[in-house]
């Protein structure tokens, strides 16, 4: 417990170290989420258009 506490305190720099790592997680995850959502959106459109295609060829 004491070791964990000491680790989280970061030698008194906790309020600088943890926000830095938190932001790194936020920025990296944000990039991935935004990129993946854009992919899903286009993928959905593409699937919908492909599903329509056979009807068009009748």
């Amino acid at each position: 417990m004491d070791a964990l506490h000491r680790f989280l305190e970061m030698g008194g720099y906790a309020r600088f170290v943890w926000p830095a790592y938190g932001l790194a997680v936020l920025v990296l995850a944000g990039m991935a989420v935004q990129s993946y959502r854009a992919w899903r959106r286009q993928h959905g459109l593409w699937s919908a258009l492909s599903a329509m295609r056979p009807q068009r060829r009748r």
Binding site: G12, F16, A20, L23, V27, M31, W39, Q42, L45, M52
Partner: protein
Amino acid sequence: MQRFANPGRFMRLSGRIMPWCAAGAAIGLAAGVYLALFVAPPDYQQGEAVRIMFVHVPAAWMASFVYAFMALASAAALIWRHPIADMAAQAAAPLGAGFTLLCLVTGSLWGEPMWGTWWVWDARLTSVLVLFFLYIGYIALVNGFDDPTRGARAGAVLALVGVVNLPIIKFSVDWWNTLHQPASVFRLGGPTIDRSMLLPLLIMAVAYMLYFAALLMLRMRTAILASRVRAARLGEVEAMPEPSGRAHVAGSVG
């Protein structure tokens, strides 16, 4: 270069490479963060605050690297007029902006306890802030045109002009007196930091790079898919019965 310029081939290749980059990035980030937080020793001057460096420095490297990549892609786009080069530049820009933002804020979080200030208008910090605005300006410019081709061309020119900022960032710590310390890894005569800190730093750098590569491919695949969706929709409009029978005119213009 030219081999990847075929959208179909790019889709096949990137589909195969992307998962490996993503897996490498995940492993690298896990190992890097573990080493950075638990294994690397506290610095004899900076104490535990040095751990900020493991997320800050690779972000700074990526900020410049991604811009150089964007500029190269833009040059290729202007010279060969290939849409994939434009897609690469446009896919990279938001990622570069993200790394630059991360670099600026984590630098600030380190600067307050170490320098006693969140921000100074010195050469290194200011030139990186300019880099951030270049990314934002590029994204705004590309999306500011009704015609995407014109937007891409304007963006490519801006990206190339902005390259002048890269050597300024790199050498700012040598050319001017700044609060920011000079290079300690990529310097003549080798790195000046201890292996116990250099190793996690390099692992994080590789992980960031793989992360960028994976997301870049995902975003370029999205752009290619989007262009296929656009083309398919256009085809649909053409396939609709037209009373005047001028369906082929629209096709010949596009």
